[in-house]
Symmetry: C3
Subunit: 146 residues, 3 copies
C-alpha cells in the first residue's frame, strides 16, 4: 500500500561545523520499518545550514570538509555586499547553495539503503545558527510486516 | 489517494544572474492545494542553468552568490578545452554541476513547506541562455479538501 | 496504479574521471516504459564518487569538469588531516559533497524526461575506486500500456 508519512524535527543547536545526524533522523521516523521500498526526503528549512551525505567513520572527514568550505568561502569574503547579518552570513548562504538543502535516500526492507560508509551530515555554517528544523517525507510501499 | 501530477513550464528568458521564481513555480501547479502531504520535484532540462533554494528577501544575496560563482569559475577559465560555444559556456556547465538541476521540496497541507526565508532560485549562467524549461512533478496524497 | 520499483546496479570499475552512464541506468530499469508519470532516483552508495547531470555530447565537457574539480580540490590539499587512505581520498570526499550522491529525474510517458543535452554522469574521484553500486528507485503511476 502506497503512502506518504511526514514529520517535522527540531534539532538541538550545534556549534558551527559538520555533525553526524543519521541516528537522529532514523529515530524521528518510526514508520520506516514498515516501508518495504521507497524514498526518504530530508529537507532543511534554512538558508545558512545544509545537508550532505558523506563518510560516517572518521571525524577528520567532517573537520576537513568544514575546513575546505571555510577556505573556499572565507568569512568576510572580499566583494560581498550582504554583510549586515555578520561576516559569516553570506558565506553560509553560499555554502548552503553548494551543498544543498535536500537529501533523497532510498529505503529498502524497512531501512535506509545507505552504503557502508555513508552517514547524514548537518552542516552548520553560522557561528550561532540556533535550532534547525528538518522536514522528513517518506514515500513508498508500506506493506512490510514486522 | 496517492497520485502524480506533472507540468512542463516554459520560463521567460532572463539575464545572466540569479532570479527568484517561487511564485511562478507555485502558480504553475494548481493541484498543489489538494495535496495534503507529498514532494514537489522541480527539474531544469538544461546544462548551463541551475536551480537552488536560498534567501528570498535581500536581492544582495542573489547578486553575491552570482558574484561568488563568477569568481570561482571565471569566464574563459584557464585550461578549459570546451570553448567553441563561448567563454561563458563551460563555466556555466561547471556552475550547473555544483548547484544541481533538481530541487525536491516537501509539501504539507496544500503548500510548499519552505522555511520562512527560503525561495526558489533560477540560476542563469549564460549571457544569452534564452527560455528555460522546467518539469514539475508533484507526488503525494491528494486527499485534502478545500 | 501507483507503485515503487527498485533495483541495485553494480557498475564496472572505471578510471578516475567523469563517465556517461545514461544508457546503463536506463537499461537497468526495464519497468520504466510502463511508467506514465513519476520520478527516478539514482543514488550512489559511496562517499568518494558522485553523480551529476550535464552535457551528453562533447567529451571535453567531462574532461573540463574533472579538470576544474582537480584544480578546486587538488590531491594532497594543504591542511587536510584525513590523509591515511591516500592523497586522493579526502579530495574525493569533498568533490562528492559538492556534486552530491542522488539524482532525481522526472519520468513521462515511459521515458526519462531529460533535456536534449542532458546525460547522467558517474564522477569517479578516486584513482582506484573499484566497482560502484547504484540504487535506482522509480516511483510513479504505472498505468501506461505499451
Amino acid at each position: 500500500m502506497m503512502k506518504v508519512v511526514q514529520h517535522t524535527v527540531q534539532l538541538s543547536a550545534v556549534p558551527r561545523g559538520i555533525h553526524l545526524i543519521s541516528s537522529e533522523v532514523i529515530r524521528s521516523i518510526p514508520e520506516l520499518e514498515h516501508c518495504s521500498a521507497g524514498l526518504l526526503s530530508v529537507f532543511i528549512c534554512h538558508t545558512s545550514a545544509s545537508l550532505s551525505i558523506n563518510e560516517n567513520a572518521s571525524p577528520e572527514v567532517r573537520t576537513d570538509l568544514d575546513y575546505f568550505l571555510d577556505r573556499l568561502v572565507p568569512d568576510g569574503f572580499d566583494g560581498f555586499k550582504h554583510t549586515l547579518e555578520g561576516s559569516d552570513d553570506m558565506p553560509a548562504h553560499v555554502k548552503a547553495a553548494l551543498l544543498g538543502t535536500n537529501l533523497t535516500i532510498p529505503v529498502s526492507d524497512g531501512r535506509l539503503s545507505l552504503g557502508t560508509w555513508q552517514g547524514i551530515y548537518l552542516c552548520e555554517h553560522r557561528n550561532s545558527g540556533g535550532r534547525r528544523t528538518l522536514k522528513l517525507t517518506l514515500t513508498g510501499d508500506f506493506s512490510r510486516s514486522i
